[in-house]
Subunit: 124 residues, 2 copies
Amino acid sequence: MYEKKIPKDFSCGMAVLMEIIGGKWKSYLLFLIGKGVRRPSELHRQVPAATKRVLNLQLKELEFHGIIGKDIYPELPPRVEYFLTDFGQSLMPVINAMDNWGSGYVGEFRQLMERKSELSGIHN
Amino acid sequence: MYEKKIPKDFSCGMAVLMEIIGGKWKSYLLFLIGKGVRRPSELHRQVPAATKRVLNLQLKELEFHGIIGKDIYPELPPRVEYFLTDFGQSLMPVINAMDNWGSGYVGEFRQLMERKSELSGIHN
DNA sequence: CCGGGAGGGGATAAAATTATCCCTACCCGA
DNA sequence: TCGGGTAGGGATAATTTTATCCCCTCCCGG
C-alpha cells in the first residue's frame, strides 16, 4: 500500500468496494480463496501470470481490510493458509453477482478488445 | 483508453467487470446516470473533484463498452445526454449490490484509513 | 553440499491511470 | 466586447499501481 497524495472521496459505497477489491489480481485471489485454494504457493500456481511478490502485496491489502485472514502454522516447512473472514463471506454474494454478469459478457468483450487492437495495430 | 503493453487475462468474469467499471470515477458516473443525471455539465457539477476532461475520458470508455449511450442534439448551445443502454441496465442490479455492501462498510473503512495515515504521519 | 520447495520482502524500474493546463467553437445577455 | 455557459480534446506532467530482480531463512532428498 503506497501513500496517496490525491485524496479519493468515498461518498458512494461503490467507491469503497472498488478500493477494497479493485486491484489487478484481487478478483482472482478472492475467487480462488472462496473456492478453497488457501496456500500462497497454490495461489501462485493458479495465477502464474503474477509474481509471488505481487500476489503477496494484494493479499496483504485484502487482509488489511479484513476480507481475508491468515493462519500461520509454526511448522517446518512453513505453512500458511488464507481464509475468508465472516466479513469476507458477506462479500461473496456480491462477488458472485459480479462474476456472473462478467461471464455473460466475456465473449463480446474479447471481440471488442480485438477490434481495438486491430485498429491500433497491436497484437498481444 | 491507452495502449496496454502487458496483456491482462480475463479468465474470470470479475476481471471483465472490473475492466469495464474499474475507473476512478466510473462508479459515480454510472450511479448518477442511473439516477437520471444525464448532461455532462450536470455530471461535472455532481463530481467537482474530477475535471471535465477526466470525466469525458471515463464516459468514453463506458460508452465503448456499450454500457451507456449518448444522444447529441444539434442545437445551440450544444446539448448532450447520456443514458444507460439495455446492457447498462442489466448491470444496475450488480452496481446496486456493490453499492449496498460498500455503504455498510464506509464507517469502519474511514476509521481504517485514518489509522493508516496516522501511522505514516500523513494528514490529508 | 547443492537444488528445490516452503515462506517472505527491499529497492527500483516500468507501465498504466489521472490530473493539469490550455485551446477550440458557438451563442446569449449585460 | 467581455464573461459565462454549452461541449470537446491535445500535450504533457504527476501519481499510483504493477513488475522485475535479487535477497533472506529453513528443511529435506539426493
